[in-house]
Subunit: 260 residues, 2 copies
DNA sequence: TTTGCTGTGTGCGTTACCGCACGGAAGTTA
DNA sequence: TAACTTCCGTGCGGTAACGCACACAGCAAA
């Protein structure tokens, strides 16, 4: 049952940017989904049945290598959506989606996505623009992996996460972060110690708190800014006036918890 | 003036996959463009006026960092197209397109792209599927940059290039390749020596010849195969029956040579 | 209160790559 | 044929990250 804290669809920037008419058409089809920390939303190669619009959750796309090592290539939060292959053409992707920060998402079933796609309206335009921004983020990840230090990449990662949260507490172990960045756990420990000594963050046993965001930005590489600017260019956050929708009527779906 | 060696539009897999009707509608608008080695097609942030469909040229997308260092994030040949932002939404991208192997491309002006987009037909579907494959390639580049050695990456790079050529000679210096991979020139030298000693390639002063493709595949990392398979899944190369078009009537445009 | 588990700190040898400097070989121009 | 430019080979010291091993600290269950 939805509680008082039930997130509103418009917390997702893409859904919020839709005109009232489109919202009125689409919102009745939305399902609210609760996303548990560390659960896997899509497994590599599996077919997708929904497009997910996160409201307060953060999801990472990782590639799992043959030897089992992982690397995150993308972070998705309330600025975007998951499941681009549903409208881009393929049925699946060779990536895994892992919930990096617990929360919720609204999902739209495949048939409605297809139908909206055919209408050739606002949602299609938004989805494509978001996809373009996504490409920029993935490309910049490639650049960052090539040229920048673990310290810089950790800062970038923390910033990417902060941008998608309303608070400044992250629940993730250093082991987890190492997996995301595709580096050793000790490497993250080392970088985290430095950040803590400088007063940018504090942390303890799986809980990180960002104290000085500006310092993180200063210590991060250019990659963070580049992606942010490009995204703002493509998708300026201009929500329509709030539409009253009967959110309480929307049932909450809890995904089966497939831990990584 | 077009010569006997004028490439046919259908050498591009995407154009070839279009039905005769769509070809008949689009081909009259195509312009043949000659692409010179090392010339820059798009400069980062500049607006784009055409979508390019390479026939026998290879173009690389690079990101140029603030300190001037470069890294290639994508290779495009006759399997794809350049200028996705024209239909994805943005007017430009933060990347540079550099001609990595001289040749030709057919280009479609922006208005025709937009119009075809609105028709919601074959071309749109193909463009989106290609974009999906492109994302896979970029993502895998990120993974590769994180986890694999220069040796492996060089092999991958050579294979990516070979797949887009009808011969097995590449014209590029080690300096150039180093720029593409985002590593030192000496690193490429070292890797190339090993490959030559193993009999996989020979090279001399800017000319590389691949002798043993299978060996390259064996020495490369999994990244090459992953992208190839995913691309074949998304875009099986199924050209329509040849349509006779009056290729000779198409004027050749030579791009102003803006060297990198 | 002990036992155990999970998360974090640390040290050590190894490796891959970097930055730099220089030398030489293959072409190119005069 | 001599001077020059471009491209490639090599050596050397420095550094960032790796793999591994282990110690310890916080927390929970028994």
């Amino acid at each position: 049952m939805p509680t008082k804290t039930t997130p509103h669809p418009q917390q997702n920037h893409l859904l919020a940017a839709l005109s009232p008419e489109v919202q009125a058409r689409l919102f009745p089809h939305l399902e609210l989904v609760s996303l548990q920390l560390n659960s896997v939303m899509y497994e590599s190669g599996r077919p997708m049945r929904h497009v997910y619009f996160p409201t307060d959750a953060i999801v990472s796309l990782q590639y799992i290598m043959e030897n089992g090592a992982a690397t995150a290539i993308l972070v998705v939060g309330n600025e975007g959506l998951l499941g681009i292959s549903l409208f881009m053409g393929g049925a699946s992707t060779p990536n895994r989606s892992l919930v990096q920060s617990a929360g919720h998402a609204y999902r739209l079933p495949r048939p409605q996505v297809k139908e909206e796609f055919k209408r050739h309206g606002q949602l299609l335009q938004l989805m494509l623009r978001y996809t373009q921004a996504l490409i920029t983020q993935v490309a910049q990840t490639a650049v960052c992996n090539r040229h920048h230090s673990i310290d810089q990449q950790l800062c970038r990662w923390l910033l990417l996460s902060m941008d998608r949260l309303t608070h400044n507490n992250l629940s993730m172990t250093q082991e987890f972060m190492a997996n995301m960045l595709g580096v050793r756990r000790e490497g993250v420990t080392h970088a985290a110690i430095k950040l803590q000594q400088q007063g940018a963050i504090t942390y303890s046993r799986g809980h990180i708190k960002v104290l000085d965001r500006e310092q993180l930005e200063a210590l991060s590489c250019e990659c963070y800014e580049v992606v942010k600017k490009e995204t703002e260019l493509l998708l300026p956050y201009l929500p329509q006036r709030q539409v009253i929708t009967n959110v309480a009527a929307i049932p909450v779906v809890v995904l089966p918890t497939t831990k990584a």
